[in-house]
Amino acid sequence: MTNQEILEMQKIACKVRIWTIEGVFNAKSGHPGGSLSAADMMTYLYFKEMNVDPKDPKNPDRDRFVLSKGHCCPALYAALALKGYFSTDEIKILRHIGAMLQGHPDMKNTPGVDMSSGSLGQGVSAACGMALAGKLDKKDYRVYAMLGDGECEEGQVWEAAMFASHMKLDNLCLIVDFNGLQIDGHVNDVAGLEPLDKKFEGFGFEVIKINGNDFNEIESALEKAKTVKGKPTVIIANTIKGKGVSYMENQVGWHGKAPNADEYKIAIDELNAQLKELEG
């Protein structure tokens, strides 16, 4: 990526973060921490990587994205709205009665959402099914599934991982948003997740470790994943939970809490200042 391209990605990612905060603030609930950590990778996927068209969201040849850590949908909704799937006005009524945008992704009613998710662990299996369908139909679309680090405590993740490598699903790329925190604390204090790379290696995956808040590293990982044949890839992306909002960064308390009016103003001011700086 050229410096100019990186700058463009950073601007979009900043807007994704702004709309994430708008959504969660107006909903008075939701999950800002993991949305902000994943914002750069979702931006890259929707604005550079994936073959998708907001005017044709059901195209059978499109790439698929499953947000297995469904609670981080504020960032997904922001990316989809900025991409043109629906108006950003929808984000202002996220989680409200009658709103299209649900507290967790709903594929039936939200254009661009490829799988309903929210119950952790389940999206990985669905992504396997999508990748398998692609193999059966001899289509060359790719399937991306993003999961949380804490989510890897779910047994179903490993059932799905075993299945993915057994079926040689090299059109499947998992991305673990490794921000290190889950509701009850640090992932390694809660359930001893590490060594996660060795676990996935043992399950037959190509493992790539990156800084998930760095666009160059995101790009090179996703490019490399496309060259891997005969097995699935997992990108373990170290990220900062709450990235972009100073008081949320690396704070476990911001996993699933909305900012109050004062906190909201600080967050939006900070993100707007970052955007202004990027726009020069």
Partner: protein, 309 residues
């Protein structure tokens, strides 16, 4: 002809797959038992063994359905609907994906394997999921047609299969399966017996025996537990004044309570439920267990007479 409905299921899938290339079949290391191995032999490229991981199997099915396939996912009823309940609810039911779930070895007629494998809760669990169609066919011919109907319905379907080989009683020349419609197997106005699944055959023998003793019972076969046929139940309640339900399932949450929910709202009459009371089963030969639990023809006959007193 004696044949288990799991065998009928495997054969029907295989037949249907000839003309419907979108059908794929998944199993969780029980293909030889659920009889999806019949399909596997014929269509190895469209069969996927997920190993002993029912939760993943249901999720993979959801992903396949999201890409236009029509997956039939099979396991024992206990594990398909019990272990993977939440996957069915959230990954299949909520997005209303076109996944067909087959639960074999249902009820106590699993026999010797005992309580851990005798699922008497599957119908109850599946009934609670919005948009889920719940089928419990009674014999070979009914199962064959039910599989076709499940395929034709666009959305999630649960089909209950039995282990035990049982006599066919439907006439293949006249049999007609209509999703959501009960079938009157015998007319009568003294009482209505409403039965479902493998036990329908036993109920049929029981009501015929009762006729010789002067009790003229109506017998209705409910193959679609959900959506249930309200009309046939209301009519039976109005015309016979009392109903006895018979199922190889917990009396909690199955056919009996589905019938009660119709009668209590539209035509309150006394409904007595025969099934598995609020207890677990145990090991033993299938027919011996049916007799012990009062679900064989003889037992049903006795209990119907008692309940009518």
């Amino acid at each position: 002809m004696k044949i288990a409905t799991r065998e009928s299921f495997g054969r029907a899938l295989c037949e249907l797959a000839k003309t419907h290339p979108d059908i794929v079949v998944l199993d969780a290391d029980l293909a030889a038992a659920t009889k999806t191995d019949i399909f596997k032999k014929e269509y190895p490229d469209r069969f996927f063994d997920c190993g002993i991981s029912e939760a993943n199997m249901i999720g993979v099915s959801a992903g396949l359905a999201a890409c236009g396939k029509v997956p039939f996912a099979a396991s024992f009823a206990m594990f398909a609907t019990g272990r993977a309940y939440e996957q069915i609810r959230n990954s299949v039911g909520y997005p209303h994906l076109n996944v067909k779930i087959a639960g074999s070895h249902a009820g106590i007629s699993v026999g010797e394997d005992g309580a851990t494998h005798q699922c008497c809760e599957d119908l109850a669990l599946m009934r609670t999921i919005p948009g889920m169609v719940v089928l419990n066919p009674a014999d070979h011919y009914e199962m064959t047609e039910a599989v076709k109907a499940a395929y034709e319905y666009d959305g999630p379907v649960y089909i209950r299969l039995g282990r035990l080989a049982i006599d066919t009683f439907n006439d293949p020349d006249t049999y007609k399966f209509e999703l959501g419609k009960g079938i009157t197997l015998k007319e009568g106005n003294d009482v209505t017996v409403i039965a479902t699944g493998l036990i329908v055959n036993e109920a049929l023998k029981a009501v015929r025996a009762l006729e010789e003793k002067g009790i003229n019972a109506r017998l209705i076969n409910i193959h679609t537990i959900k959506p249930i046929d309200k009309d046939i139940i209301i009519k039976a309640a109005q015309e016979t004044g009392r109903i006895i339900t018979v199922e190889e399932h917990s009396i909690i949450g199955g056919l009996g309570e589905a019938v009660c929910s119709v009668t209590s709202e539209y035509c309150p009459v006394t409904v007595k439920r025969i099934g598995i009371d609020d207890i677990y089963g145990h090991s033993g030969p299938a027919l011996g267990l049916w007799a012990e639990f009062g679900l064989d023809a003889e037992g049903l006959e006795k209990r119907i007479v008692e309940l009518m007193k």
